[in-house]
């Protein structure tokens, strides 16, 4: 597991009493919301290159995706999973370094925003192509099983748009065939960019597909944190206990543009009045007040704490150097001896004489020619 971002209290994870876990989850949601609001303002101020994609409205679902995973479990987050990433243990600095282009981030400027990940720590680094990470999660779980590990699960996130890709179907199918301990959490936020549900799929309810895949399927109101913890936590538990793969379909409304470049004028007023359009952070906070789980002062203190952590992570990343093209290692393969051969051929370039090459490669009678002293193209 990654080092978790610091908070007042140590995480008690899934063993916590329900209300403690609720509060813990709420704090991750607050942290994600605070961080993403800050990223948005940096983006608006022109301080972030590339897109900013946020999970506003999706925090309750997302946090539940990260919160029940333990050391050795696998998380394959997608673009709106800041809360889940943080709860799983992604350091805030990974986020700010990636967005702000620090050379010290996990992607070192080679990839940006939500594509970050730490595969060695079981946090998979998504590629853009939606649906592609489900089968990758399945493969990671198969490897663990081959090695005889026990008691692990993988959780792969997807949007309702991504659910309509061929890659997603292949991943679901192989997961069920292999009976790996997988949970797929599909968040139906009612749009894939500007495409509304009725142009995305024609079935009544996406969760009905679970049975066809050989999954167990559950639905959840994604604006209700307690229910998200219950349903997604339950799915993680069942997968861990050896039940078939689990599909959870959560219903929410995306409370931002697709990305921050998008003003989302296509989101209808009608849909904004739906119950699933509620803001899960507000709903959770109201529950905390109503049930008297924390007082106003504590809530203010948590907000301040989240803001301080975010500010710290941003100012650290802002001070760090950016990657430079002429210092980059422009080799996309890791195999050491191939790289050695590369540099070796680069060295030979300077000295290579026709004779030497000829002696090396042939004993046949030869015509003498001068070989170029310019760089030979890379061996790669």
């Amino acid at each position: 597991m990654l080092e978790t971002a610091t908070r007042g209290k140590k995480s008690t994870r899934s063993k916590a009493a329900p209300h403690e876990r609720f509060l813990e989850a709420f704090r991750w949601m607050l942290l994600a919301r605070t961080l993403e609001e800050k990223l948005v303002s940096l983006y608006r101020g022109g301080l972030i290159t590339g897109g900013v994609y946020i999970g506003k409205g999706q925090e309750a679902v997302s946090v539940a995706c990260g919160l029940f995973l333990q050391k050795g479990d696998i998380l394959a987050p997608l673009i709106r999973d800041q809360a889940g990433r943080s709860a799983f243990g992604e350091p805030l600095l990974d986020v700010t370094r990636t967005y702000l282009g620090s050379r010290q981030g996990p992607m070192r400027g080679r990839d940006g925003n939500i594509h970050r990940g730490r595969p060695r720590d079981n946090q998979l680094a998504m590629i853009s192509h939606l649906g592609a990470m489900v089968s990758v999660t399945v493969g990671a779980l198969m490897a663990k099983r081959f090695r005889g590990e026990k008691n692990f699960v993988g959780l792969s996130c997807i949007g309702e748009g991504g659910m309509q890709t061929g890659a997603f179907h292949e991943g679901m199918n192989i997961a069920a065939v292999e009976q790996v301990p997988l949970v797929v959490v599909a968040t139906n936020n009612h749009y894939a960019y500007s495409t509304p549900n009725d142009r995305e799929f024609a079935c009544d309810d996406l969760v009905d597909r679970a049975i066809a895949y050989g999954f167990e399927g559950y639905s959840v109101d994604g604006t209700d944190l307690a229910k998200c913890l219950d349903v997604i936590g339950g799915a993680v538990k069942r997968a861990r206990a050896g039940r078939p793969p689990q599909l959870v379909v959560a219903s929410i409304l995306r409370l931002s543009g697709h990305g921050e470049h998008d003003d989302a004028t296509y989101v209808t007023d009608e849909i904004k009045r739906e119950p699933f359009a509620r803001d899960c952070v507000k709903v959770a906070e109201q529950a905390i007040v109503d049930l008297n789980l924390a007082d106003a002062e504590t809530l203010t203190e948590w907000r301040r704490d989240a803001a301080a952590q975010v500010d710290q992570a941003i100012s650290t990343a802002q001070k760090e150097a950016a990657p430079e093209g002429d210092e980059e290692d422009w080799c996309a393969i890791s195999t050491r001896d191939m790289r050695r051969r590369r540099s070796c051929s680069a060295m030979t370039n300077a000295f290579l004489s026709t004779d030497k090459m000829l002696a090396e490669h042939s004993a046949a009678p030869l015509r003498q020619r001068k070989v170029s002293r310019r760089n030979f193209p890379d061996a790669c």
Binding site: M338, T354, V371, F376
Partner: protein, 261 residues
């Protein structure tokens, strides 16, 4: 399939994915190119998968069971593309492929299954990235790989009767591409013909000519030439198929024209 292999590879395994035919790997292009090929560069975690592609044409196989896809894979960063031409190389290079930390696209020509035999399997082979002079000569260099090696060698034998000594270079892998060995050979012969079984637009043969022209223009006594399959889908009927791919007759014709220049 490739997605699961990538996930397993990230988690410490060394999976081998066997495509039934190279042609079907087009449905896995996304995972191979965009996931496996980018992973090390993006995350510093390498993806040691081997994707086996039974490649190339056979009689009666038609458009979807005959393709040679090495040039597509070689075009993308992050992949190693092996194209063995002999049983011995096929053996040592497959073992090497599994040991390599990067994704390897291993193009095994069906000709090797059906027509070639090795008396003994070698315990050691040339490392991938090193080409082999399959036949020495002084008048013309034919650079090729995979099953086309055998067509090229047949042509070289044939042209001995006409007084020509043709050098044949077996690339063994198209990525990494052993430009030095090719240049050294062209330095000896002054003439270059590249032969590949894949489609003619771009690709490995074009890459070799581009490199030799850029780096060894002064070594050339004649414009370098290339020979590939025709720019149509691969036909089913044996008569059409054998006219579609580069064959010994075509190679000999090109070689003679080059030698006379």
């Amino acid at each position: 399939m490739v997605g699961t292999a990538i996930g397993a590879a990230i988690n410490g395994m060394r999976p081998i994915v066997e495509m039934q035919f190279a042609d079907f790997s087009s449905t896995a292009l996304n995972q191979i190119l965009n996931n496996a090929g980018t992973h090390y560069w993006r995350t510093n975690v390498s993806v040691p998968i081997t994707v086996r592609l039974p490649s190339g044409g056979t009689k009666g196989s038609g458009p979807f069971h005959s393709q040679s896809m090495e040039s597509i894979y070689a075009h993308y960063p992050g992949l190693i593309v092996m194209t063995p031409a002999t049983v011995e190389d096929a053996y040592t290079m497959l073992i090497e492929a599994v040991g390599i930390d990067d994704p390897v696209v291993y193009c095994e020509h069906k000709y090797l299954y059906y027509h070639l035999k090795a008396d003994n399997l070698p315990t050691e082979g040339l490392p991938t990235g090193r080409a082999r002079i399959a036949r020495e000569g002084r008048d013309l260099t034919i650079v090729t790989y995979s099953a086309m090696l055998h067509e090229a060698l047949a042509v070289a034998e044939q042209l001995v009767n006409e007084g020509f000594e043709i050098e044949v270079v077996d690339l063994r892998s198209v990525k990494p591409l052993d430009t030095n060995t090719v240049l050294a050979s062209v330095a000896r012969t002054g003439r270059l013909l590249c032969v590949g079984e894949s489609f003619p637009w771009g690709g490995a043969t074009a890459e070799i000519i581009a490199r030799v022209t850029a780096e060894g223009f002064h070594l050339l006594d004649a414009a370098p030439q290339r020979l590939n399959a025709k720019d149509t889908p691969i036909p089913y009927h044996p008569n059409l198929w054998s006219a579609h791919r580069p064959n010994a007759k075509e190679i000999a014709r090109k070689a003679r024209a080059l030698l006379r220049e």
